[in-house]
Assembly symmetry: C2
Homo-oligomer: 132 residues x 2
């Protein structure tokens, strides 16, 4: 179970950069691993899975505090998963908000660009739209 991987091996396996792994340790997302005599970190499977959990959560855009909460839920498997549901639902709401905002932006940018006649700046609709 304790495969004793170096931080570099963990980085390759999880897709998380070495300094980021150390950063996650520093902020307490993952535990401080034991060290070799030469002071190098030695990771076991548990920490790698934890790091993968963090990576996937980050990919879904959860912020560190949310991930901290999700991890602590994972550590208490007998509690209700209501809290996890709430966190994910909140994230979904954020994503939907940003989606709405971004598609409005897209529309505006497209409109701006569609009107550009590629002449001089003086008549440029892009600049004009921003200045208006």
């Amino acid at each position: 179970m304790t495969q004793n991987l170096s931080i570099g091996a963990v980085a390759r396996e999880t897709g998380i950069r070495i300094p980021t792994i150390r950063y996650y340790e520093q902020i307490g997302l993952v535990p401080e691993p034991p060290r070799t005599q030469g002071n190098r970190r030695l990771y076991d499977r548990n920490t790698i899975e934890r790091l993968n959990f963090v990576r996937r959560s980050r990919e879904l855009g959860f912020d560190i505090e949310a991930i901290r909460a999700l991890l602590s839920l994972q550590d208490q498997p007998e509690t209700s998963c209501e809290r996890a549901d709430t966190i994910a639902t909140e994230r979904l709401a954020e994503v939907e908000k940003r989606l709405a905002r971004l598609s409005a932006l897209k529309k505006e940018l497209k409109a701006m660009l569609a009107e550009c006649r590629h002449g001089r700046v003086a008549q440029c609709r892009v600049i004009e739209a921003l200045a208006s």
Copy 2:
């Protein structure tokens, strides 16, 4: 033309916070305004319009460097607007990329949540999806 507004008045009119206005001055997006005898900034219409330009550009998600470029184009009305077009087109591409990413996220979050049976964490699909 020189209406001599205080920074507070400018903030109210442009919707940009006072520290942000000073920040924009510091990074050279807007010129250093003249001061009163008591060292307070005095703004004219030109700077207000420039600030509005900045605000609208930020709302569309242009970063400061892009805005710097757009402003300098605006200052040279006789040049070609090709560069402005390019900047806006690049921004549009970014927006479309993020839109795609966000809708993928939305899908994943929804799928995760749809499977949640609201039981204990041990069986929670949300946690499981992140851990898998």
